[in-house]
């Protein structure tokens, strides 16, 4: 369990996050949504320890995350960035090896079980065909998959993703969401994602957190949050909910 207790964060006079309290339980997909500048990514950065407030606010399995060594923490939580370096000339395999950094020996070599794990992740994500291709030469969708694969290679119970679909087209975005659901089932992961697209979020996540101006305005199971009138207020825009024949609900902004 990851617990956030009384998280406040401000830069200068500006409050980025205000009194956030939340518990992420194991085995679910969480979606964090909200308008631009609501503080979504800042929450993830706090959980990763990339922003470290003076007070203890984030607890992993009951322990203050400040008490973890960087190397140990990377064995519990992995992170996929919104943007990843694409101008480097590393092969897909070399990128995945980095995911096992904390398990490398002094000279940077991996044990056989680490290699097997990398191979397994490559199979799951269908990356064997591009194993030795440089990330420079990959499409946006392929590259995003490689960096998700690297996080999976870390073999952590928690996986955090910061707007994983922001650089992808509709087709790749939907495919990626399916993949995330599959991974979650197969590896029994807890996934926390910041998403921009409401439909992708509602279609994929079990639980939703909605932020506005640094405050957590609603949280709960996806269906409940979807019906909540506060959703419209959050975005300050009129939104229609439309159901198709499979009873899936879609959010359509009124133009």
């Amino acid at each position: 369990m990851i617990e956030i207790k009384n998280l406040n964060y401000q830069i200068g006079q500006k409050h980025i996050l205000k009194d956030i309290n939340y518990k992420f339980l194991q085995g679910k997909i969480y979606g964090i949504i909200g308008p631009n500048g609501a503080g979504k990514s800042t929450i993830l950065k706090h959980i990763m320890g990339m922003i470290s407030p003076s007070k203890s606010t984030i607890f992993y399995e009951g322990k203050d995350i400040k008490s973890f060594k960087v190397k140990d923490y990377a064995k519990h939580i992995s992170y996929v960035f919104q943007e990843n370096p694409r101008d480097l000339d590393f092969t897909v395999y070399e990128i995945l090896q980095m995911g096992r950094y904390t398990y490398m020996d002094l000279m940077g070599d991996l044990k056989e079980k680490d290699e097997t794990l990398i191979k397994q992740v490559m199979e799951d994500l269908n990356l064997e065909g591009i194993r030795d291709v440089s990330i420079k030469n990959l499409s946006g969708g392929e590259a995003q998959k490689v960096f998700i694969a690297r996080a999976l290679v870390q073999d952590t119970p928690y996986l955090l993703l910061d707007e994983p679909t922001s650089m992808l087209d509709i087709h790749n975005s939907v495919e990626l969401m399916h993949l995330i659901q599959q991974i979650k089932e197969k590896r029994n992961l807890t996934i926390i994602m910041v998403l921009h697209d409401l439909n992708l979020a509602f279609g994929t996540c079990d639980e939703m957190l909605i932020l506005k101006d640094g405050t957590l305005v609603i949280s709960g199971p996806t269906q409940e949050v979807l019906q909540n009138p506060i959703l419209q207020e959050t975005y300050n825009y009129k939104i229609h909910l439309i159901q198709d024949e499979t009873a899936t609900t879609y959010i359509v902004p009124v133009l």
Binding site: S78, Y79, N84, Y101, T102, G108, Q154
Partner: protein, 345 residues
Amino acid sequence: MLMKIKEKFQIVRNIRFLYFLLTLLVIIFDIISVTIGVADITVADTFQIIWSQITRHEIATHITKGQQTIILNIRIPRILMAILTGMNLAVTGAVYQSIFRNDMADPYILGISSGASLGAAIGFMTSGFSPIYAFVGALVANVLVIGLSGMRGKVSTIRLLLSGLAINYFFSALLALIKISSQDKLLTIFTWGMGSLGAASYERVIILTAITVPTFIIFLILRKELNILLMGEDAARSLGLDVGCIRKILLGVSSILIATTVAFTGTIGFVGLIIPHVAKLIFGSNYRKTLPISAFLGMIFLLLCDNLSRALIPSGEIPIGIITALLGAPYFMYLIYRQRKREQR
């Protein structure tokens, strides 16, 4: 064109074979270098002098004592110095490029060499052990670069280059002041300010080797960290790397290496910029390969430059820093041009 070169090199799939080839190249260049120089000594005589030294045999009567001294006590230590210096400059360049996540980062361009140079000059004037003074100078320059250009996120090229420029100006001005105020030792400081292998001796080769070997081993051990640093500070942290700690180690160790090198040879520019760049272009970003290949290419490049510096003017020698700058500065311009092109896209 580049892709073609790359494909050609990929034929050398076996990396051990590649290292063997590069070692062979270094040896060949050594042999060629020992025969080049102002003094009129034939190739056959050169080898005879070396051979008689190894086997302790009698030497042919037409070879003078002076010729023997030139080969054994001037050319050979100079070649060894060139190898070590080339390797050190290339390797520290590669390390800096990872620390700052920027292809233009290089101890010379960032002013670290100037700092070391100033330190060494002060050591020289006060008759202290100049590598230690150079180390302090390098550390001060490092602190200034980090303070000015910042470290978080991808360091902007402009800020990095401007910081380097300012630091270079400042230390060069101080160095000029020292030069002016010390008439008697002026000439030595002048040539050494341009970079020169002329002052090579076995003693210096031994000291430099004693610093080079352990630092290179440390860099080889840290090549996985050097790779991960390229991913960016936050990503490196999420992969389990204590970025702050590793950066301090890398900067400290690099400073020792660059300080000792500069104290003995002066500031030889651009090697740390060109060589790692070429290595990455052909063999990829992985420091597993970048580090050793940069080391080999650095050796070969500096030997080549040293030969040019001795052979271009029949009556004397050009400071090696001028040769590396003549070759390196255009390459630097090309890098800036390429970056502009990329930004326009």
